[in-house]
Subunit: 159 residues, 2 copies
Amino acid sequence: MSETDGVWQHCTNSAIRRAARQLGQLYDDLVEPSGLKGTQFSLMSQIALAGKDGTPLKPLAEGLVMDLSALGHTLKPLTRDGLVELIPDARDGRVKRARLTPLGAQKQEEALALWHDAQGRFDAVFGAERSAEMRSLLGLISTPDFAKAFRAAKQKSDD
Amino acid sequence: MSETDGVWQHCTNSAIRRAARQLGQLYDDLVEPSGLKGTQFSLMSQIALAGKDGTPLKPLAEGLVMDLSALGHTLKPLTRDGLVELIPDARDGRVKRARLTPLGAQKQEEALALWHDAQGRFDAVFGAERSAEMRSLLGLISTPDFAKAFRAAKQKSDD
DNA sequence: CCGATATAGTGGCATATACCACTAAATTCA
DNA sequence: TGAATTTAGTGGTATATGCCACTATATCGG
């Protein structure tokens, strides 16, 4: 077996994690001057979409395909640094809404320019067409329907 | 903006992380009866490829596109549980070689059957063709050449 | 051979992310 | 209405993963 063989050639799960590490590295390096990690920038950008009313954590976590408690933990450094704030919901006492602080909004915009560079490079190297196709496929994998189908599936037994 | 909008539709980095979380969940659920996480199984499988001489950590980390220290940390629970052992290299006093213990090899084989189910389901739901294509693209993203090209690239400036 | 440099790993610290147990608040239903 | 159940978040613990500083060993230049 050649030195370049690896389990990632057969396992989609390890392949995707490996690529995520690489891409995380590449994006982080470019976004770093803003002081944000790529993950933090993504999270803040998603929160920014909710505007000044913010968004409850539960649907935010669902959209991100992330465990609710994991989201809570990830939010910690951001609230600590005053970039995100959690405000109580007026209707439902259980709910907290995440929104960017003015400082957070400013940071996010700053990082946005850096991110744009990264995404531009990715498209340039990978091909904008394939890039969009890739995101589409990754989006498909991330749907609840895909998870449902996966869990319901039986392994192939025909051959 | 619709509730289903997200940054992952525009950002390949967040899209890949999101999909990795989903897939990690799905694979983990199936591999869990072996007592291994998907990441641990992947790592052990890669180590298994090296046979009884084991493999030095540095090239292992490089193959996995992982930081050397991160690999060291990830190995901790596995060595603690007696699944992997680090043996000194005969030629180079700095080098340690990772290899599976007999127990580790047994666990890995046990998990292999479970993993096979998971991979089979993925192929069934996603399509074996697209699955292979996806792994190929993910593999491309994970190459040193891709990283080099990315870092060397300039953002598009045409518009 | 010796000192300068490069290489492999380790350990500390920080973030990312999951599971579980627990609290509080809302909803259901008898 | 009041008890049972469901739902949203929190905090603890564990693994995953990166950066930095440090140690030990190897290699290189003179």
